[in-house]
């Protein structure tokens, strides 16, 4: 009874705090501008099924793909055990699924155990890959400090979680001989063998405590994990699903059109809709492109929150490979960091961040004198060849190029800045409608 109450209170607190934190993540994602979700639902669902659920793009690199798959499958299957822990915890029962599942129970838990062993092996290998082997994509400048610690913490959490599962199951097996009424007989694939080896010979009171340590340890670790996710790169385990669903279906080569610019140029060229209202010449000039998260689309910000910092984008970026400062992963990480900063500042209610002091802070009433250029240098944005290698590489369909393109648009259209080398190009296109300023006629080649 006492345990049930304690469990209910802990669970409520953990879930409540997680809800509060996830609402903040949602609000931060919605700092981005509205963007219509285009294209058929079936095609989006297929992306989610193949890319997120089926991990299709992970298999471009076979070794990490197999290791990741072990962890992923174990994670998904362990949810069954988690449901049981909840039922047991709330109703004060023990291994409740044993009743309704009967003989199937051994099969289900044994499956989880075998997968957990695989997950354990994978986690240890991941720790070695991150900390012992020199894999360049894990050692780029943006991976110093918190991102490196974050990655290791998750792996350590995973090991604790697995140790708890096996302590819980292993002690249970030994206790079955001593208190068969409460600890009903089971036949688990791993702990059935390992339990007696590790825990055999211990007295009942120690075993009882250890069993509870395993049980509580597991569920507490799950609660910690859940509340850690919103602050971590590990959020991808949830957001990979919506991100693959909402990923734009357009061909990779297609840049998003800017209807506001198109319509203005059309009216300039006399191609506009003759019935359209006269443009308001006194209106404030709109901003084009994005120098901040509030000018990106919510789909871009969702992408930033879905990023697990694996660095596949950076590993294939031609600019990064040749030693330029640009790293697509860093751009994506910076968008998330800036979204966090804006979100926190808006929620602080501090009126010094308001553009119009008499109105409440919001994504449209916010000014802190900072923007994405405080995170990202011009040099990074200028180094991009728009080759789409980063877009192709991302296992969860994040599009770093879209973010880069939007920053380029802001620089050129709103700030009238950008690389000086591009001015002759623009002049040539504007005045002679051609990207080459040499030559005289487009039919010269015919003469040979």
């Amino acid at each position: 009874m006492v345990q049930s109450i304690v469990f209910a209170v802990v669970a409520l607190l953990a879930l409540g705090f997680a809800y509060f934190q996830f609402s903040k993540v949602r609000a931060n994602i919605l700092l981005g501008k509205d963007e219509e979700v285009k294209g058929p639902v079936a095609e989006r669902a297929k992306n989610t099924l193949l890319v997120a659920f089926g991990q299709k793009k992970m298999f471009k690199r076979i070794v990490p793909a197999v290791l990741h798959l072990m962890l992923y499958v174990a994670f998904v299957f362990t949810q069954i055990e988690l449901i049981e822990i909840f039922i047991d915890g709330i109703f004060g029962v023990h291994r409740w699924f044993l009743g309704p599942l009967g003989g199937m129970y051994n099969f289900v838990i044994s499956t989880i155990e075998v997968l957990s062993i695989l997950a354990f092996v994978a986690t240890v290998i991941f720790l070695i890959r991150r900390n012992v082997l020199f894999i360049p994509r894990f050692h780029k400048p943006e991976m110093q400090g918190w991102p490196k610690l974050d990655a290791n913490l998750i792996l350590v959490f995973e090991l604790i979680l697995l140790a708890c599962i096996f302590t819980m199951n292993g002690t249970d097996v030994v206790l079955q001989d001593q208190d068969p009424d409460h600890y009903r007989a089971t036949n688990f694939a791993v702990s059935g063998l390992l339990g007696p080896v590790v825990f055999g010979g211990m007295d009942a009171s120690t075993l009882y405590v250890l069993e509870r340590v395993g049980w509580w340890g597991h569920i507490l670790m799950v609660f910690v994990f859940l509340n850690y996710l919103p602050k971590s790169k590990h959020l991808h385990i949830l957001l990979a699903f919506p991100n693959t669903y909402f990923a734009r279906l357009k061909p990779k080569g297609q840049m998003l059109n800017m209807p506001e610019v198109m319509n203005e140029v059309k009216s300039m060229m006399g191609l506009g809709d003759p019935n359209a209202p006269e443009p308001d010449m006194t209106a404030e000039l709109p901003e084009f492109g994005a120098d901040d998260v509030t000018e990106m689309s919510w789909i871009d910000v969702l992408g930033a929150y879905s990023c697990t910092e694996c660095g596949r984008c950076t590993a294939v970026c031609p600019a990064n490979i040749t030693g330029k400062k640009l790293s697509p992963r860093k751009i994506v990480m910076n968008v998330r960091d800036r979204a966090e900063e804006i979100g926190d500042k808006i929620r602080s209610g501090n009126t010094e961040f308001a553009e119009r002091a008499d109105e409440p802070l919001s994504r449209t009433n916010f000014q802190d004198g900072r923007n994405l250029w405080d995170y990202i240098t011009r040099e990074e944005i200028h180094a991009c060849t728009t080759c789409n290698a980063c877009v192709e590489a991302c296992p969860v369909l994040i599009n770093p190029l879209e973010m880069i393109n939007k920053m380029r648009r802001h620089e050129i259209l709103t700030e009238a800045a950008g690389p000086a080398d591009w001015r002759p190009l623009f002049n040539s296109i504007e005045n002679q409608q051609r990207a080459w300023s040499v030559g005289t006629s487009r039919t010269e080649w015919v003469k040979g």
Binding site: K60, P251, K252, G253, Q254, M255, N257, V261, M262, E264, V265, K266, M268, M269, L271, F288, P318, A319, I321, T322, G323, K324, K325, L326, E379, H382, A383, T385, T386, C387, N388, A389, V391, E392, N405, R408, R409, E411, I412, L413, G418, P419, D421, W422, L425, F426, I429, E430, Q433, R434, A435, W436, V438, G439, R442, T443, E444, W445, V446, G448
Partner: protein
């Protein structure tokens, strides 16, 4: 060679089978002009009645758009669409994957809907249909040819096999770089990089890519894009291999082994 413009066709109240979109590089760059001529020769050899826009053609706007200059892009793009729609153009071919991508994927949003193919796709079709026949099979005998996927034909539009099929019709040996197809490495020119100095770094992108091609002991680097052509040629020169390794566009390789199919 005589090549007619759309205006000339319109003057005779006729329409060509296809419009050859030459592009700025193909029109003005010395090296790319050779590709343009080679491709025009192939079209003639296949008996395809084609036209060009000539001086009515404007830059598609690709480099301006990718640099971030949407105004400039819209200006030239809308101008081109006006011209193309005025002539009622439906079918187009181009030897530039940047022009191809922009016209295919970006002009529709501006009201320009055309059936455009890249020249490597048309080359494959002409070979498959027997409209051009390669009779000189000695030029590439025993030669190692490696194919460099351009970003805008490859990743951007998913066209990987047509150019390879074309190359297989030659007598050479097609050798693949490790980074190919979806994983192909850029030549370094896209996103308007062609017109600016590199940002600070350890190496030029084109040299990185050229090194990969050279590591295969390739005799020929085959490309499908005028920008890649420049970048890879520069890369080969930077490694002082211009005496041993040649960089060619696919149409140049085909035209060198070409004899008009008899009776056409």
């Amino acid at each position: 060679m005589t090549v007619k413009t759309m205006a000339e066709f319109a003057g005779e109240d006729k329409a060509p089978e296809i419009l050859f979109w030459v592009g700025c590089a193909g029109s003005f760059d010395d090296r790319a002009q050779k590709v343009t001529r080679a491709f025009a020769e192939i079209l003639n050899a296949a008996g395809i009645e084609f036209a060009i826009l000539g001086d009515e053609e404007a830059c598609t706007g690709d480099p301006a758009r990718r640099a971030g200059n949407e105004f400039l892009y819209q200006m030239v793009a809308l101008q081109n669409i006006e011209t193309l729609n005025m002539y009622g153009v439906k079918k187009m071919v181009t030897a530039c994957p940047h022009c191809f991508n922009t016209i295919k994927n970006e002009y529709p949003a501006l009201g320009g809907h055309y059936d455009i193919v890249h020249h490597t796709q048309l080359l494959q079709q002409l070979i498959d249909d027997g409209r051009i026949k390669l009779t000189d099979t000695t030029t590439f005998k025993g030669k190692r040819i490696t194919y460099h996927d351009s970003c805008y034909l490859g990743r951007a539009n998913g066209i990987y096999e047509a150019p390879r099929e074309v190359l297989r019709s030659l007598d050479g040996q097609l050798v693949e770089m490790k980074r190919s197809r979806q994983n192909g490495l850029c030549c370094g020119a896209g996103g308007a990089q062609m017109w600016k100095e590199d940002e600070p770094g350890d190496k030029r992108v084109n040299v990185e890519r050229t090194d990969e091609a050279l590591s295969l002991q390739a005799d020929v680097i085959a490309v499908n894009c005028p920008f890649c052509l420049t970048m890879m040629t520069d890369g080969v020169a930077a490694r002082e291999k211009q005496g041993e390794v040649m960089v060619y566009d696919l149409s140049e390789l085909i035209v060198s082994g070409l004899r008009t199919a008899t009776g056409e």
